[in-house]
Amino acid sequence: MSAFAAMLKRELRLSLRGGGEMLTLVLFFVIVGAVVPFAVGPDKALLSRIAPGVIWIAAFLAMLLGLEKLFGPDRDDGTLALYRLADLPLAAIVAAKVIAHWLTAALPLILASPALALLLAMDAETFWRTLLSLLLGTPALAGFGAIGAALTVATRRGGLLAPILIAPLSVPVLIFGVGAISPSGGADQAQVAALLLAALSLTVATLSPFAAALAIDWGED
C-alpha cells in the first residue's frame, strides 16, 4: 500500500510541478464552452437548453487532451519499462496514475465549471446537477482514457489515435452524463441516469487499470 501511495504522490507532484499544463487544460475547457455562443448565437433560452451538452463535450475534449502525458513521458525516459519489473503489480501502478489523472485533469475542470455555467445561462438547480453528473461521470472518462493511452503507448504516432479509440466507448458516459442533468423524460429518469452513470464509473474505474496494464505489458516488448 505504501508503494501505491508513493506512486500516487509521485504522479501528483509531477503534475503539480508542471502546473502550467493544468491551467492550460482548464483554459481549454472554458474556451471551448465559451466559443459555442459565438457559433449558435447569444440566445439565452437556446444556450441554457444546450448548456449541459456543451459542458460535457468541453470536459470530454479537455480530458482527451491530457491523455498523452499519462504514459508518454514514462515511456520516453524508460520508467515504463521499469514499472513492468516492479514489485507493485502494473495494474496498481496504472490505478495510481488514473487516480492522479482524475485529480489533475478532471477535478480542475469541475471546479471551473461554474464559469461555464454562468456564461451559458444555466440556472442554479441545473448547475448543481451538472456538478454532480461531472463528479459521477469523469472517473469513467479517466478510466477509458487510461485504456486508450495504454493501447497507443507503444506506437510512436499514437497521439491522435487514442481519442479515436475512446470516443465510441465513451458514448454511454456522455448519454447518461447529460441525461442526469437535463432529463427529457422527467425527474425520475434523471435519477436513473445518475445511478447508471455512477455504476458505469465504478465498473470502468475498477476494470480499466487491469485492461490498461495488459495493453502496456503486451505492447511493450
Partner: protein, 253 residues
C-alpha cells in the same frame, strides 16, 4: 503414411500451425464460394420475382433482404474478432491474430453496408435517411469501433505486438458494446417517445422469410470465404516480411 502424423494432430494443433491451417482450409474456399454464389443468385431471384410486396411497407421490404444480413454480419464479425482476441490473449494462438486482422476490414464493410441500406430503407418508410434511433445509432458507434481497430492495426509495425494490443481493445469493445446498445436505446426512447419503427411487428409470411434466409446464408458464406482467403493472404504476408527481413540482413552483412 506421412499424413498419419498430421491426422493424429488434434484439431486445435492443426488449427494453430499456419501452414497446416492453410493446407487444411484451402480446399474449402472454392466450394464455399460456389455455394455462396448460387445462394446469392437464388436469393436475388426470390427477392425480386417470388417475394410479394409487403402489406405495410410495400416493395421497400425488398431492401430488407440485403439489409438484415449485413446488419447480422456487422455483429457476427465482431463476435468472430472477439473470439479470436480471446485466442490471442489466452492461448497465444497464431492463427487467432491472423483471423482478427482479416476480419476487421470485412466487419467495417458489412457495418457500412448495413447503415447504407438502412438509410435507403428509412427514406421511403420513415421519410428520412437518418434517424437517431437506437438501432442505427449503435450500428454507427460499432462502425467507429471497427475504424478504431483498423487504425490501431495500422499504427504498429510489428504485427505480433499489434495483435495483442488490438486483442485487448477488441475485448474492451466487446464488453462495452452491450452497454453502448443499452445506453443508446435508453437515450433514443427518451428523445422520441413515438417509436417510428418496430421490426418485431407482424410475423412475416414464408414468401418473405425464404429470400431473407437464402440471402442470410449467402452473405454469411461469403464472409467465411473472404475471411479464409484474407487469413491465407495474411499468413503469406507474414512469410514475405520474414523473408524480406532475412534478405535485408543478408545483404547488409
Amino acid at each position: 503414411m506421412a499424413t498419419d502424423a498430421v491426422q493424429k494432430m488434434t484439431f486445435w494443433n492443426r488449427l494453430a500451425h499456419p501452414g497446416q491451417f492453410v493446407q487444411w482450409t484451402r480446399p474449402l474456399v472454392w466450394p464455399l464460394a460456389g455455394l455462396s454464389l448460387v445462394l446469392f443468385l437464388a436469393g436475388l431471384y426470390f427477392a425480386f420475382f417470388v417475394s410479394p410486396a409487403e402489406k405495410y411497407m410495400g416493395d421497400t421490404v425488398r431492401i430488407m433482404y440485403v439489409h438484415v444480413p449485413s446488419a447480422w454480419l456487422s455483429q457476427f464479425v465482431y463476435a468472430t474478432m472477439a473470439a479470436s482476441a480471446l485466442g490471442t490473449l489466452i492461448w497465444r494462438h497464431p492463427m487467432a491474430d491472423v483471423s482478427m486482422k482479416a476480419a476487421a476490414p470485412l466487419g467495417a464493410t458489412f457495418t457500412a453496408m448495413a447503415l447504407f441500406t438502412g438509410a435507403l430503407w428509412g427514406r421511403p418508410t420513415w421519410g428520412t435517411f437518418w434517424e437517431w434511433d437506437g438501432r442505427m445509432t449503435s450500428t454507427l458507434v460499432l462502425l467507429f469501433i471497427y475504424f478504431g481497430i483498423i487504425a490501431l492495426w495500422r499504427a504498429f509495425d510489428d504485427q505480433l505486438r499489434a495483435a495483442r494490443v488490438v486483442a485487448v481493445f477488441t475485448l474492451v469493445g466487446a464488453v462495452n458494446i452491450p452497454i453502448i446498445k443499452f445506453s443508446v436505446d435508453w437515450w433514443s426512447t427518451l428523445h422520441q417517445p413515438a417509436s417510428v419503427f418496430r421490426a418485431d411487428g407482424p410475423t412475416m409470411p414464408p414468401e418473405i422469410l425464404t429470400p431473407l434466409f437464402v440471402m442470410f446464408f449467402a452473405f454469411t458464406l461469403l464472409f467465411a470465404v473472404l475471411q479464409l482467403v484474407g487469413m491465407h493472404t495474411e499468413v503469406r504476408r507474414r512469410r514475405v516480411t520474414t523473408l524480406e527481413r532475412r534478405a535485408a540482413r543478408g545483404e547488409s552483412r
